[in-house]
Structure formats: structure tokens, C-alpha cells
Symmetry: D2
């Protein structure tokens, strides 16, 4: 069974394991107050061109989203998200469990537009019953989105402007950030993110680490007392150095970007070859998640040797599914996947 169902099916980049082994019996302070975390944070600040940013390391994505969002909001405030946003759909109501409402806006491609955010927020404050409604205070976007799409620099800049004009915090969930930054269509950089958002995170779990997300807080207001929030939400790892060591390793020798580029290239290959097979897609994604629409009969055959994620029914005989590549994907496996899809499509041609 070859797994393309997610981008966290393997362990971690071998360089990380080596470093963990080398440092294993060193004694360090706990809770992220060790030297590895300090050095990793410095590297990330440097990569972001943000010498004053606060950098914190958390274990996983849901925890990170919850900690950042609940740290930013007062009780009556909510977070604007695309209706497909991970926080809205796939975190078992973790944000609501902290008392905050997800204010979900329609989105075809997983992205929010500056116009949407402006219109929603302005309508809130124009409504005579505004105090009877949750006050929008933060905008949550993911890049790449849950549908593999990415923000163009001008789109992010517009969102940023709209947020700043209205006093909204802009938070970018970068669980798959590497795969976004490394893809052909991308024109954003880490310094762009540091300049345009208030807080974002650089995903490790899906991009080469065993686990870990690096939160970069740019807005001064969001920095205050952030470690209390981490502890309260269960995200303060006792052996915090494990996070420091991992991010230090990922941000040395351009590793984070190189392994991301590998995944991006294989996703592009998969996409190009499927297009050659006349496959259409649920959505145009330039990143490591691809959503082809295939015959159910093809999918049934494919399932015997390949793992993938069911996404949505398209018509009576076709469904969209998701294939992910990652830092760990072997090119030969992608080739076998393409070949098998081609073979099955030919067999079921005309059905």
C-alpha cells in the first residue's frame, strides 16, 4: 500500500533524527526555555526579516490555532474564516470550546477576499443590533488553503490593508506553508508574511518534522503573556528542546525550502500527467494537494494499492479525491500512481 492520503504518513527528515540522537543525553531546561529553542527562534526571525517577532513552538495545528485565536480575542469576539477553514470544519469545535465563534464566509476556493472581510465587518458595525452579534476581531486564513490554493501577494496585501483599517488581526495558518512557498505560482516570501499578517505559523508536522509548528507573532499586542496561553491550552511541551532542535535543523542549509520544493515538484508532475490523461480537477491547486475527479470504478481499483482521501461526490459515476505529496514522497511512487490511474482509466473507458 502506497499512501498519498496525507502529508504526515512518515516520520521526519533524517537530519532531525540524527540531531535528536546527538543531543539526547544533554540536560536542558524545560518548557522551551532552552538554548535550542532560542537558536531556532533566532533563525526563524532572521528568515522572516522580523528581528522583533516573538517565536513560540507548539506541537500541533489544532492546538496552535486554538492558542493563537483564544489569546487574541476577548470573550465576545469571533474569528472570520472561510467556510472550508480547518478551524470551522475539522477541529471538533476547538475554537468554540474556548468560547469563540467561527464567523464562516462562503468560499469556492478556500480563500477569503479583502472585499468579503470588509463587507462583513462593515455590516456588523452598521447593524443597529451589533451588540447582539459576535464582534469580528480576527481573520483566519490558511496558506495553502485546505483546498491547496494559495494567496497571491496582492491578495494578501489587500486583506492586510482591510484588516488594519478595521482593527482586525490577520492570522495565517501555515500548516503546509512550505508547500505553498515552494510552488511555481507562489510570489510570497516569509518576510512578506511577517509584514502583512499579525501572526502566522510555519508548519513542521507536515513539512519534515516529527511534529511542531512555529508561531511567529509580529503584532506587539499579541505577544503579551502568550506563554500563559500556551500552558493553559496544553501546548507547552515539557521537553521543549525537541521543538527547538527540529526547527533548527529545518532552518539550516535551506532545508525547509528544499524539501518543500521536492513535494511541490512531484505534485506538479502528478497534476501535469493527469491533465495529459484528460483528468479534470475539483479545484485548480498549485500545491502538494491535488484533487482530481475520477470514475468511481477507477477509484475502486486504485484503492487496492494506494491510499488517498475521498473528497466529494461529483456526479453519479465520478468523485473527487485528494492525493498529497510531501517531503518524503518518492518519485517512483508517483510514477506508479500515474501509471495505475492511466491503466485503470483505459480499462474503464466508456463505462
Amino acid at each position: 500500500m502506497l499512501r498519498f492520503n496525507s502529508d504526515y504518513t512518515e516520520g521526519c527528515h533524517p537530519a532531525i533524527l540524527e540531531r535528536l540522537a546527538e543531543t539526547n543525553m544533554e540536560q536542558t531546561p524545560g518548557y522551551g526555555e532552552d538554548d535550542y529553542c532560542a537558536r531556532a527562534a533566532a533563525k526563524i526571525r532572521e528568515a522572516c526579516g522580523a528581528p522583533d517577532a516573538a517565536v513560540h513552538f507548539l506541537v500541533g495545528g489544532t492546538q496552535t490555532n486554538v492558542t493563537v485565536i483564544s489569546a487574541a480575542l476577548r470573550h465576545y469576539q469571533g474569528v472570520i474564516t472561510a467556510e472550508s477553514g480547518h478551524i470551522h470544519i475539522h477541529e471538533t469545535g476547538a475554537v468554540e470550546a474556548c468560547g469563540h465563534k467561527c464567523l464562516a464566509l462562503k468560499s469556492e476556493d478556500g480563500k477569503l477576499t479583502a472585499e468579503q472581510v470588509a463587507a462583513y465587518t462593515d455590516a456588523h458595525f452598521a447593524d443597529e443590533s451589533f451588540e447582539h452579534m459576535v464582534q469580528p476581531k480576527m481573520v483566519y486564513i490558511s496558506n495553502p488553503t485546505e483546498l491547496g490554493t494559495i494567496y497571491r501577494k496582492e491578495e494578501l496585501a489587500a486583506l492586510s490593508r482591510v484588516c488594519r483599517e478595521r482593527g482586525l488581526y490577520l492570522f495565517l495558518d501555515g500548516a503546509r506553508l512550505g508547500y505553498g512557498l515552494a510552488c511555481r505560482e507562489n510570489d510570497l516570501t516569509l518576510p512578506d508574511l511577517a509584514r502583512l499578517t499579525d501572526v502566522f505559523y510555519i508548519g513542521g508536522t507536515k513539512v519534515g518534522a516529527l511534529f511542531g509548528e512555529a508561531v511567529v507573532i509580529v503584532n506587539e499586542k499579541l505577544k503579551e503573556d502568550f506563554r500563559y496561553h500556551i500552558k493553559q491550552r496544553g501546548g507547552m511541551l515539557a521537553k521543549g528542546r525537541l521543538l527547538g532542535i527540529q526547527f533548527l535543523t529545518l532552518f539550516e542549509e535551506n532545508r525547509y525550502f528544499e524539501i518543500s520544493a521536492h513535494a511541490a515538484r512531484l505534485a506538479e508532475k502528478l497534476k501535469d500527467e493527469l491533465i495529459n490523461l484528460n483528468v479534470s480537477f475539483l479545484i485548480e491547486s498549485p500545491t502538494n494537494q491535488q484533487f482530481p475527479i475520477l470514475q468511481d470504478a477507477v477509484l475502486e481499483g486504485l484503492r487496492e494499492k494506494f491510499a488517498f482521501t475521498y473528497q466529494a461526490r461529483v456526479d453519479e459515476t465520478h468523485s473527487a479525491v485528494r492525493f498529497c505529496t510531501s517531503w518524503a514522497t518518492e518519485e517512483e511512487h508517483v510514477d506508479r500512481l500515474i501509471a495505475e490511474i492511466g491503466r485503470l482509466m483505459a480499462r474503464h473507458l466508456g463505462e
Copy 2:
């Protein structure tokens, strides 16, 4: 200024004030453990044909919704609601502040269908990532809805069946219940509600009381320890007898239904006369809230003498607004409203 902007612009039915005056210096136990509450509860159980129902009195609607919903759900469970549901839009995230997500479904008319609820719930449990999503456990409906529409008996029965098959609690918000039960199109009774829902409430605030909502809990599982929840959510009135006395008065001499019928009749008159004036409506409402679409120029003129609620822009020159009648509305005022609209429409004809 004549107010049609809501159904809580006056105080209460005079019989209630009299009773409050008569009993004012009596000494009673606090927190709803007095004899008036006991007698009012007995009357309500009788009216509902539900001798085993638990009846509790709370002060207001948001408080009641929050208390009932949070009492029914475990942390990871949510409540299905129409996207126009009061809990989703107009309670400043009170349900989320208790940790629970509103699972909002599309609705044109403010109602949920049995099919929608079944499809949503079945999709949840069929999804391989079901544990990553909020589990639906309760269905919240309002009758009349926020748009004035009502459920037919067969619709409610279908919802009830779908809920029972799937282990969902069915909760009916009856903030304006009287106005629903008293309207021409209605075929539901209090005993129907007691039979088809798990819990519902009979609104007092908008139907003749100074304040107060009577929660009727039919499902045994929801009865346990409910008073702890009331206290925790700030809804346990020290002088609970005020609620008992009010509901006792409303449920004597058929008063609740008679004053509701008064409002329903005046709403029908308003509606019929506006139809005669060729006014169209945002939504077909049979109850005390009417949503006519009028020229902005007409509305501007109307605003000088009448208060009403802005609902939505319809086109460049027309908006939908809301007029409410209530137990307290004087027929002469409705007549003046109709006449004024007619006069203004004539003046702005053809603009």
C-alpha cells in the same frame, strides 16, 4: 411615535400587574421554590397534557436558549440550527461562549426540514474523520421562526422522527409561541409540542409578561440536575415567584391564547391591507411579524411617525422592513399605519 419595531415595547398585561400588587408583601421562599411557581408549572403541565414534564421559569430568551442547550450537550457536541436561527445570529455567541458550536444549515424561510437534519447527521457519522468534527446532538428550531413562519404538524412530526431515529434532541424555541399557535394557518397544539419535542419553551416576554420564559422538559434525560444549570448560567431569579405569578396569570382564563389571537388578528389585517395595496413581502409570514417590501421613499416618510425594523435591501429603491403586532397593539394604531403607508405610496407612485 407609534412603535411596531418589536413585540416588547410595552409592559405587561394589566392582570399581571394587579396580581403582583396583590401579592407584593407576601413572604415566599426564593429561587422558584414557592407555591406560585408550583401552581404555574401545574397549569402548564396540564395545558401541555404532559403530567410528567419538568417546568422551569427563566427570565429571558438568550438565557433560556443557553441554559437548555448547554445542559443537553457534552463538550464536543453541537446544535443544528437554521442559519437564521436566533442562537446563531443574535445572541452574541452565547452558545459558543458555553463551548458549543452552532451547526448552521441553509434555510430560506427560517425553518429546518427533516431531510436536512437527517442528511447532515448521517453525513457526519459516515465521514471517516467524524471525530474531527463537532458531533450533532441537538436540533434547535424556533416556532414561529425569526422570519415569522411556522411549522405544520406534519413537518414537526417528521423532524421529531428523524431526531429520535438518530438520538438527537429536538428543542423548540417558543419566544413567540403564542403568536404561532394563534394564527390562522397553525395546526399545532401545546400537547403536540410536548409529544414531538424533547424540550421547548413558552415565551412570556413577548406575549403579555413583563419578562419570563417557561421551559417544558419532556425528555427524562434532560430533566436531571437542570436547576444547577439555571443557577450556573445566571438564570435563577431570587424572587422566582415573579415568574410563577406571571405565568399563572397568563395561563388562567385562556389569557395566553386570547391575547395572542389579538396580535395574530391585527397582523393578518395589516397583511391583508398591504396586499390590497399591491405590496409584496420578503417572506410569507402568517404570524405577528410581517416583512413587507416598500419603497425607500415611503419608508423615509413613515419613519417620522412609526418605529419599525430595517430587515434587508431588496433592490436599489426598495427595502424589506419588519412590523410587529403584539398583545398590546391597538387596532386603531394598525389602521393609522395602513393609512399612512397607503398615503405615502400614492405620493411616491412611479418614482
Copy 3:
């Protein structure tokens, strides 16, 4: 049965009922945005010598405590309280249900000292694990306390100073405020409270109103968006004018203070007479709650004709109980209570 078990056994001051009747059919805006609320707020600001204070009206004490506390705190912050504080013991964890911890300090008399608060707060910030502990940010005191004791002006001034030096908000729960301000030992005034606290409330429920608490917010930071909090916590009364009318009536003609003085005088009479009978007290209380220690045999006899609250066992044959007077207490009833206690004590003398 004569009830001395609490100070909310009757309805309200007759002047309030009259005013409710007079205004009953007036039409007003809802949610506290009517003219009565505005006028009552103005009167209270004037009485407090605090022209810039924000005044809000809520229905009950638990709701008020929860709304004020949760509005002031961020998620990781808690509220310091005496271990006997109402929020810690008698509100079914309403504060925790909003996510905030009560940081309970020992107290014999229901009061907190400036030294305690300073020591606790300083210890928090001196602890190397401070981020692993709830950060103290607010101090909750009640005046009179749950044990009937009151703060001297110099004590409150010291608390205020300690709080301001440390960035803590000082919140005074005045559910029984009138009975404190009206007692012989008191040297505080409303302007003192406005000067020394950040927010406090003036209790109506126990002091002449049907229900209602007037929150006075002095600190600018706590004023922002407070009505969102009221709505979210279920405290925004639809017919808000009912609160405005009640407080307007209470603050006219010195009524609030006169009816409080009545209760205070009767409590002092009860206390003096019991002292004459050689009764000792669980605690020295100068206000409307008195906690005498009586023989169990005496209490058993007393229970036939009088309602009171059991407070605590003192020894094998004696218990402390609570008697409350209020604005509504008749002097003759106090006389009968004293006489009956005297008679029962004589009968059980030497047992």
C-alpha cells in the same frame, strides 16, 4: 410563618409597583436604551459623584458577577476572592463556566486585606513558574460580605492602593450595599466606592426592587464594549425599562438609603436584644445579616413559626444560624422573634 431566612422574601417597595403601573402601556425601545434607564443612570452617576461612570442595569447578582468578571479578564487571568466569596461558593461555578479561576484566599470574616492581596500577587510574579499558574488580575470583594461584615474606608483605600500598584482591577459586589452604607459602623459613601474601586454594583434585588443590580464602571478600560458582554451572558433584559424604572424610583427622594436604614435599625435591635439575652455570635456583623449561636433545642422550637438559615454547627448542642432583616421587615415581627427566642431559651435553660 415569619421569614427571616433571606432579604428577598417580599416583592418590592410599593412606589416601584405604582410607577410600573403608571408607565405600563408606554412604548419604549428595548434592551436598556430607553429614557428611564438613561435617567436612572444619570441619578446614579450623580449619587456617586462620578459623571463619567458607565452605568448598566442587570437582572441578578450571579449574572452581574459573571458579566463583570468575564468582561475584565483575559482567558488566563483569574479573580482573587475570599474563600467565603459568593462567586467561589454559591454561584455553581458560574465564573469557572466562563473559563476563569477563583483564586481563593483564607478569610475569617469574609473580607480580604490589602496585605493578603499584595502578598499573593507578588508571590505569583516572583515564582519562576508564574506562567504555569493563573495570573491574578482582579480582586473581588463584597460589601457587606456574605458574613455581614463591612469594609472601613481605610481598609478599602489600602486595597485600592495595592490593586492600582499591581495593575489589578478592584470589583465590589454590592448585592446588599444599602444595608452596608446604612449601618452605624459604616464610614463609606457611594463617591468613595467610585473613587476607590474600578467597578462596583448597587444591589436592587435585596434592597427594595423586584430585581435588578446597577453596575457602575469607573475604570475606562472596563467600559469598552460592555453591552456585548451583557448580551452574551444572557443579562440584557428585553424590557430594560423595568430596570430603569426601578432604580429611578429607588434613587428618588433618598429612598434607597431610607429603606436600607430601616433594615439596619431592625438588625441592630435584634442584635442588641440577643446580646441582652447573653447570646453570642458566630461573627460580629453590623449589618442586616445576624449570625447568633443558639441551642439546637431552641432552634427546633423556633422553626415552627420562623424561617431562618442554618449556617454552621458550633458544638454538639449549638449551631449558628442567620436572620436577615430587609427594607420590608416589620418591627413587630422582629419583636416577636426576640420574644420567642427569649421564651425558648428560658425553657431550655441548663439543658
Copy 4:
């Protein structure tokens, strides 16, 4: 600098690192649904003699406590804990952030007695205002406690009996469980815990793992839908196999118990030698945390070469501190610590 300040200063047992390296590029399903987790759970069930127990793997202690407690309680219920309990003091109010109150009982030694729990619970239900107070529903104990003490089998059996009679869940926090089970005074086994508690966890973070806690749920009621709770509280590790592999390795070849015994033996050596030096202790601890009372001058000298935790001031010239041993402690380091303390005590003798 030699660190005795905590039991999580190193990485993990080398066998774990080896296993992580061996399995690194295997592809597995995510979220704990892999085969390693299944095998580790089976091993733990076997070790506990509890074939029907549900076993879940979480990342850290606070997260585990919060998930277990919030999964067990309804909104108005709280958890009884010793006032020194980790959940009450050192988790930044994480339990309260989920809406639940810690009901803290006095304790000199970090333990709760069956009598205390019975008395507290019985008093709750006997109080006429019981609905105004948080209902006790769970008892939280730690073994070893935060003060290093342990429960005797008869003590735990008595607690268990009291809990079952009253419908309370008994939850044992085993963050340092190995060090408790491996110490000389212990007479408890894993099967005892599975028999006497409703849910407990086996700590990995402090006992040989990089991170990880294994929750063992025995009570059927607590098993339902537990994975929703894990996800909601941010504890569902994407690469769940990391937890499975670690616990599998720890529970092979008796490793968990052997490495625990190592730490226990070194703690006993430290304790015995300090007793020989006439050092007294803040508390009599039989486990890997030792709390000697030393002269401040000695501590000042010691600090140059050794890290330890400040615990409490004892008198003007003495303080209690904490030294921890662990699976990773080298005996030679303990010897150096003892020697240095002896040297410094001799130098400061008579000061």
C-alpha cells in the same frame, strides 16, 4: 551544571530513539490509528490485567488532565483535588478554561483521604443550597503526588469505595507513575489501579519517553466518544505512531519498570545520605522527588554547579528545595551532589 531540577531534562531512553529511526520512513495512518498504537495499547491492557480497558495516547500531562476531566464532567460538575494538586496550581487554570471548577481540599502531604472526599461530597448533597454550588463528580489524585508521596493500597481502596458509593469518578494522574510503583514503600500494581480507579494515566514524559502519556479508561461510561475530546482539546497527534512506538518500547522487556527502579534507587541513596548528614526534609517522600531543608548559604554555594528547584522558605536561614532523579540520572552525579552538599554544610556549620 548538573541538573536535578526536574525529571525531564534529557531526551529519551536510547531504545526509543533506535526504534524511531528504524521505523522512520514507514507509512502509517495518522491520529493514533496505526498498528504501533494498537500494539502498545494491547501491551498496556495486558500489563494492567484489563482486557476491556480503552487506551489512548496523548502528548503531555496538562493536556491529558484537561481531556480526561472535561470528558467526564457535565458543565455544572467539578473535580475534587488536594490543594497542592497539579491541576489546581500548575496548569494555568486549564481545567477552569474548560468550564470546570477545581474543588480544592486541604492536604499536608499532597494526598486526599477517603474520609475527606466522603465528608465533602455528603456535605454538598446535604446542603439546602446544593444547586447553588458546583456538584462534585470526579476525584483527582496523583500518584506519586506533587510532593513525592504515594498511596498505599488500602488508602486507594478506601478512596475507590467512597467514590463508588457516591457516584464519583476516581482519576489517578500518573505523570510519575513508574517512580511510584518502583519505590520500596509501594504496594500497588497496575492491575490494582485498573481495578480501583475509573481512569488513570501512565506517564511517559518523565519516565523514559520523549513525550507521551497513556490514558487507561476502565469505566465504560468514560470510554464513549473519547477521541472527539482528544481532538477538541488539541491532543490528537497527527503522527500518532510516535506515541505508539514509544510506549511499545517502554513496555517491552520490563523497560518501564527497570528504568523507574533506577531512579527510585538513586533517590533513596540521596535521601539516605542526606539523613546521614542530619538533613531534615520538608516531607517524607519515598520516590524520585526529594525535598531536603538546607541552609540558604549551602544552597547558594550549590547553585554554582547544580540545578534544583526552590520549594519553600522554612525559616530565616533555611529553605526546602527539590531534587529529582530520573531514568537518566547517573549515579556518579548523585554522588557528586551528596559530596558537595556535605562539603558546603561543613563549611557553613554553625553559621
